[in-house]
Amino acid sequence: MKYALLILGMAVITYGIRSAVFVFGERLSFPPVVRMALNFVPVTVLTAIIVPMTFAPHGGAAELTWRNSQLVAAAVAVVVCAVTRKPLLTIAVSLAVFFVWQMIV
C-alpha cells in the first residue's frame, strides 16, 4: 500500500526532527532568523490549506456568495473563536451553522 510509505516517511522525518538535538547535543543550534521564521509556520500553513477549501469548496472559481455554507460557517468560526477563545465551542457552533445552512440553502 503506497500510503504506508508516505506515513513511514512522515514518521522518520518527525522522529529525526524531535530527536536530533537530544542525540547530537547542542551542536545543532538554530540561528535567530530561523527561530523567527518558525513562529509563523503554523498560522501560514493552516491558513494556506483552508482558504481554498473555504472559498472554492467545489474547486475552480471562488464562490463568494451567502450560498457557500463553508464560507458562511468559517466566518462564524472566526468570530466565535476571536470572541470566546474556546476551540471546542468554535468547532461545535460553526459545525452546527454549517449543517443547518446546508439544509436551508
Binding site: M1, Y3, A4, L6, I7, G9, M10, A11, I13, T14, Y15, I17, R18, S19, V21, F22, V23, G25, E26, L28, F30, P32, V33, R35, M36, A37, L38, N39, F40, V41, P42, V43, T44, V45, L46, T47, A48, I49, I50, V51, P52, M53, T54, A56, P57, Q70, A73, A74, A77, C81, A82, R85, P87, L88, T90, I91, S94, L95, F98, Q102
Partner: protein, 259 residues
Amino acid sequence: MNSTHQNHQPGNLAEFGAGARDTIPMMVGAAPFGVIFGTLAATGPLHAWSVQLMSLVVFAGSAQFIALGLIAGHASFAVIWATTFIVNLRHVLYSATLAPYVAHLPAHWRWTLGAFMTDEVFAVSYAHYQRRAPGETGPYYFLGSGVSMYVNWQIWTVAGLLFGSAFPGLQSKGLDFAMVATFIAIIVPQLVALRFVAAALAAGVLSFAWNDWPYKLGLLVAVVVGVAVGMLLSTRAKDSTQRPAQRPAQRSAEMERAK
C-alpha cells in the same frame, strides 16, 4: 498505580505518575482532535489501519491533519514530506530548550524521549524541569507525560475511526468543514499581533491564487511568502523597540507556542 509499586521503585514510578497526572488536562484537550482526526480520516482514501499507523508512528497532531488535507488534495508525497518537515520543525526549539535536562542521560534515553515530544509534552515537562537544576533531572517525568499523551492519542484515534465508519453518511462535503473549523480554532488564538495576521492573510490569498499549481506546490510557496511577510514585519517591530532583547523575545515566542 504508583501507590502499590511505590516500595520497589519509589522515585521512578512516582515521577512517571506525576508526569502522567500533570498531562491529564492536555489529554482532555487533545481528545476531541484525536476523534476528529480519526473521523475525518475514516471518510478519506486511507484505510483504517493506515490511519492508526499514522497516529502510532507519526504522533503529531497538526502534521497528521495537514497530511490528510494534502492527501485529499492529491498532493505528491514529496510535498507532504516537505510540509511535515516544516510543520514539525518547531519541535527542534522544544528539544533545544529541554536539552540541558536530558544531556546527562544515557544515550538510549536520549534516543527514546525525543519520540514523545509534542507541544503538550513539551509544555508540561518544561514547566516541571524548569524548577530543577539541570543534571539532577531523571527521564521518568518526561516519559510519563509522553507515554500518557501517546496512549491517549491512540485511543481517541480509534474512537474517531469507529465513529466515522459508523456514519458513512458523513463522507460527503460535511466533514471537510470539521477540519476547516478545527484549523480556525487553532489559527485565531495565534493571531496575537499584526505580523501574524499579515502572514496568515498573505499565505491564504496566495495559496488560493496558486491553487491549480501541480502537487500543491502553490501552497508551499504561499507558506514561504507568508512566513517572509511575517518576518519582515517582525524586524520592523524589533526596530521600534517592540522586542528589546533577543533572548527574552525568543523565550516568550517559545512559550507562546507551547500553550
